[in-house]
């Protein structure tokens, strides 16, 4: 116990300057989180998918058709603005809308009499992916209407060959056209799946990226903290400590304990500050967060210490840190949530960074998560124990 106390004291004393590093990381965090808030909340940076709609045909069927499109899932990503042709062209010119759809007068009558549908679209830029999508949608719709009309005309010709009277033939043609429009209205949905896409694990984008940054910060702070380990190993400080009678367990455990303390000085105020901002602050939340933080940071610490021991070359070690954590982070959905990709979804469940993220946002962990977490912990402890005694 005395050895632990002594080493804890040493670790604490020799690392108090780490507070400055933690302060620098805090600054970095504030800049990053502000950047995310700016990106998420700035109206100018939001995707503007307004579309101008000039409808000159007042036929009930056309209204039904447009109503169906506007109330379709398309309405989630596109805002329709009813306008006149002159005003619509001005809006397009000012980039206030990305496209202008023009349904000409007598469009339905034209369809009824076997002519092509009079629906046109003017676009601002053909390179815009949203315009390409919309253009394809409208083209398909017009093609559908026109091909349905062609089919009706073939039926009309058949009736004539069979000697059906003109009035009866026209009635049949109109009835068939109407059926096609109805069928189109009810069957032309763009998106088959009706599920709401839960891409941020049930959180808002800000909340999600805040937690991601918190974990990134834990990793960075731990790497910065253990930077001294490199000198300790090179200068044989660890060898000397062991020779003096301290055990490996005492030496590394005290390092982990004190680094958890120093990193907590950065993470806990950030958590508290965020909860305050979100009007969710209470001490119980912070108290509940502490054990989650400790459990989450232990494997991170062990991995970092093991990499410091294993990789002796500075540049190689930095590359290993970068590759290891960025690849794990990417497949955890840190950069962007990778939902709906079956293989990655399974892999993520075993990815300890994803497990930590889930634990941080208080979602329940499943068996795969615990297996993944414990797996990495056991592997790291094994590797750590094997490598920690090698100093040359």
């Amino acid at each position: 116990m005395t050895s632990y106390k002594k080493l804890l004291g040493v670790e604490f004393k020799r690392n108090y300057k780490q507070l400055l590093n933690m302060l620098l990381l805090l600054g970095l965090f504030i800049i990053l989180i502000n950047g995310i808030i700016y990106l998420v909340t700035n109206e100018k940076l939001k995707l503007d998918t307004s579309i101008g709609l000039v409808v000159e045909d007042s036929a009930m069927e056309i209204n039904m058709l447009l109503g169906s499109i506007r109330n379709d899932e398309l309405s989630d990503i596109i805002t329709f603005r009813e306008t006149s042709m002159t005003e619509g062209e001005a809006l397009l010119k000012n980039d206030e809308i990305i496209a202008l759809i023009h349904v000409e007068e007598n469009t339905f009558e034209a369809l009824e009499s076997g002519e092509s549908a009079k629906i046109s679209m003017t676009v601002g830029s053909r390179e815009d992916i949203r315009v390409v999508f919309l253009s394809n949608y409208i083209e398909n719709m017009v093609e559908m209407l026109n091909s349905s009309q062609n089919s009706a005309m073939i039926y009309y010709e058949l009736l004539r060959e069979n000697g059906t009277p003109y009035e009866e033939r026209i009635d049949e043609l109109n009835r068939l056209s109407m059926k096609y429009v109805e069928a189109f209205i009810f069957r032309s949905r763009v998106f088959v799946k009706d599920d709401v896409y839960n891409k941020f694990l049930g959180l808002t984008a800000i909340d999600y990226y805040y937690h991601v940054l918190l974990i990134v910060l834990m990793i960075l702070a731990s790497i910065v903290y253990h930077n001294k380990l490199e000198d300790d190993l090179k200068n044989k400080v660890i060898t000397r400590l062991i020779n003096t009678g301290y055990s490996l367990k005492e030496i590394y455990l005290t390092k982990v304990v004190i680094s958890i303390f120093y990193v907590a000085l950065l993470i806990l105020p950030l958590k508290a500050g965020y909860l305050l901002l979100m009007n969710q602050f209470n001490f119980l939340n912070i108290i509940k967060f502490i054990p989650v933080y400790i459990i989450a940071i232990i494997p991170i610490q062990l991995i970092i210490i093991t990499i410091y021991i294993l990789v002796k070359n500075d540049i190689t070690r930095d590359i290993v840190f970068l590759l290891f954590f960025s690849s794990l982070g990417f497949f955890s959905g840190f950069a962007m949530p990778l939902e709906g990709l079956p293989v990655l979804d399974v892999m993520k469940e075993y990815n300890f960074l994803h497990v930590i993220l889930k634990a941080f946002i208080k979602r329940s962990l499943n068996i795969s998560n615990l297996v993944g977490f414990l797996g990495i912990l056991v592997a790291v402890v094994f590797l750590f124990k094997r490598e920690a005694i090698r100093f040359d």
Binding site: V10, R14, N235, V237, T239, R240, N243, T244, I389, D392
Partner: protein
Amino acid sequence: MLQVKSLAYEYKNKKVLEDISFELSSGSVLGIVGPNGSGKTTLITLLATNKKELTGSIKHTMEKGPLVIGYIPQEIALFSELTVLDNFRIFGKIKNEKDQLFKRIISALGLEEQLNIKVSKLSGGTKRRVNIGVELVRDPQFIYMDEPIVGIEYSIREQIVALIEELAKEGKIIVIASHNIDFLRKTCSQLLKLDLGKNVYFGEYNDDIL
């Protein structure tokens, strides 16, 4: 007594030491010499740390008391952010500054004025003296020193020579790896010469061997 039998060591499939055997009795001071890369540092480290990967045997036999091995590496193995005194507390395990051995070592190494100064602020030579001191205050019976006097000024070197003589008289076994012939001549009673990891001479100190 120190008994080394058929000691061999491989690192990354390369033989670093081969078939090293010798014995030292109480009060012996052995100098290990040899060109760079001959295995001096490896031998000193192995003797002090008794690694599991080595083959052969290293046996430290005590006449009385617990076994304490002192290892003074070539590197400055100290906590540079802490004071000299803090380093003595951690590595030397001193309980208080009135300890007689502590006073004696501090005096012999000329460190009285530096006790409350951070190691990072000391000169290279002074750091090296602290590097030696923290090990000697533990009162080891076996002392392994790797290039102990590099960068240390002449007057202090003489004090260190005197200290080693005193420690040898007390029955301690001291092993020193060094390139400094003058220092070895003044301190060593025996010599071990290594070449490419092999023992090419072991016996009484003799200038002609160097």
